[in-house]
């Protein structure tokens, strides 16, 4: 439940999934504790997810992901800061699905790159749901993949996010 008097929407349980698809094997992991905040007056969006929170079905993959690829002790989070393009406040009050474009920067593994992707804001039954899909290239973020396993990891990793927002109380 939220009213227009509130300024911010908050989600602490965003589902963030990434998938790497190659002919040899698919690698998939999910983090259900993604953090996301939207300012409904300005259209600013920020999201943050803890890398050690990604759960893999293969425990060894999870260990290597954190220890060798993402170096999660050094770079614990992936953070997105951006804005809804051509922002119209009405998307948060008008029922239905609204297609938007989000533009901003992604900070991952110690590197920040501009990023832009389509997303959907959905307002129905007093719930605001944000969903999006975008791609990350490990090479853009200095994530080193040894030649030995290069054909097991896709060059473009697909990330899928779904967040259910509530009014931020403060």
């Amino acid at each position: 439940m939220y009213s227009q008097a509130q300024n911010r929407l908050l989600c602490r349980t965003a589902a963030v999934k990434f998938i790497s698809v190659t002919p040899i094997e698919n690698i998939e992991a999910v983090n259900n504790s993604g953090l996301s905040v939207i300012d409904i007056q300005t259209g600013d969006i920020q999201c943050s997810v803890l890398l050690k929170g990604f759960s893999f079905r293969n425990a060894l993959m999870q260990e290597h992901f954190n220890e060798n690829y993402m170096e999660s002790d050094q770079f614990p989070r992936a953070t997105f800061k951006g804005k809804i393009d051509s922002f119209d406040k009405a998307i948060f009050t008008k029922p239905g699905n609204h297609a938007i474009t989000v533009k901003g920067s992604m900070d991952l593994h110690g590197k920040t790159n501009p990023i832009s992707f389509p997303a959907t804001i959905s307002y129905q039954q007093n719930e605001i749901v944000g969903t999006c899909t975008f791609q990350i290239l490990p090479g853009d973020y200095n994530i080193q993949i040894p030649k030995l396993v290069a054909d097991k990891i896709a060059q473009r990793i697909t990330v899928v996010v779904k967040a259910i927002y509530q009014a931020q109380k403060n």
């Binding site: 939207i38 943050s48 050690k52 929170g53 079905r57 425990a59 220890e67």
Partner: protein, 293 residues
């Protein structure tokens, strides 16, 4: 000229504007700390063994770790024996991660044809903001099965068997440095008259990570009592861990030949200062046998 009040009002307005801009700038401010995740500390050591002794690391759930250990002859044997490489003993073993806090292992060493098994349980795991240490307990047993060379002195199953109990307290101090202490008691039945059946020792293990996949490790056991000083020597091993994908290679030099607790703690007689250290390696390959639900 602005009046005093107007100036004051404008400066408050300015401060408020700046304040609101910075507040907008970082919507996540203050939110990230209150995550609900427990933030377990992992990878204090690259392997479930420091070199000889158990490390504070556990296998993941559903992981099978196939381990091959080789210990060669003393380097002091010189070029004729290729510095000990001609003489080798081996242990083959399987460690099974039943859950993330429980590991079971079995193995067999060529030296004395000794079978060994253990159960390893982690009571406490180090956390980033929380538990300062990991606490792991290991209970193991071994039995050597070589044929009795002297039929006049029969060897019972009891004679051939030994047990050990160990508590490991370890901490990953930084991304690069970890250390653990393992008080251990080894109990064996077949002993020389001068020995005692129960041997108490303190294990000290440390790891220094040099790069993402390479680390320096040291494994030392101080045998507190029970072995005659003139014969029993504390086992000291120093080596390098190299990790590639699912394999971990541990290359090291040690003065001990034994590859299970009973053996390397109570049967080490060679001395580093006499050149009687030997090259050895541990090779382990992890397989995922059961995916987590």
């Amino acid at each position: 000229m602005l009046s005093y009040h107007k100036k004051g009002f404008l400066s408050i307005l300015f401060v408020a504007l700046v304040f609101s801009l910075t507040a907008q700038d970082d919507l996540l401010k203050g939110m990230e700390d209150s995550t609900t995740q427990k933030q377990w500390v992992t990878n204090a050591f690259k392997s479930s063994r420091v070199i000889n002794g158990h490390s504070m690391e556990m296998l993941g759930s559903g992981i099978l770790d196939f381990r091959i250990l080789h210990r060669f002859g003393p380097v002091s044997q010189g070029i004729e024996n290729l510095f000990g490489l001609d003489q080798a003993s081996m242990r083959m073993g399987f460690d099974w991660g039943i859950s993330r806090n429980l590991t079971l292992g079995i193995g067999r060493t060529t030296f004395k044809k000794e079978f060994d098994g253990f159960i390893k349980y982690r009571f406490v795991q180090q956390q980033e903001k929380g538990n300062a240490l990991s606490l792991v307990g290991v209970l193991g047993a071994s039995v050597f099965t070589y044929k009795n060379p002297d039929p006049t002195k029969p060897l019972t199953f009891n004679d051939r068997s030994g047990y050990y109990f160990q508590l490991i307290a370890g901490r990953k101090f930084s991304q690069n440095f970890s250390m653990q202490l393992s008080p251990t008691v080894v109990y064996r039945n077949m002993i020389d008259p001068a020995d005692s059946k129960a041997i108490y020792a303190l294990g000290i293990g440390a790891r220094y990570k040099v790069s993402k996949r390479v680390a320096l490790v040291a494994d030392y056991f101080v045998v507190a009592n029970g072995l005659p000083q003139s014969v029993g020597v504390n086992p000291l091993s120093i080596g390098v861990d190299i990790e590639t994908g699912g394999h971990v290679f541990q290359l090291h030099f040690s003065n001990s030949t034994g590859m299970n607790e009973r053996s390397f703690i109570t049967e080490t007689t060679d001395r580093w200062d006499k050149g009687d250290f030997r090259f050895g390696f541990n090779l382990s390959r992890s397989f995922t046998f059961r995916k987590k639900k």
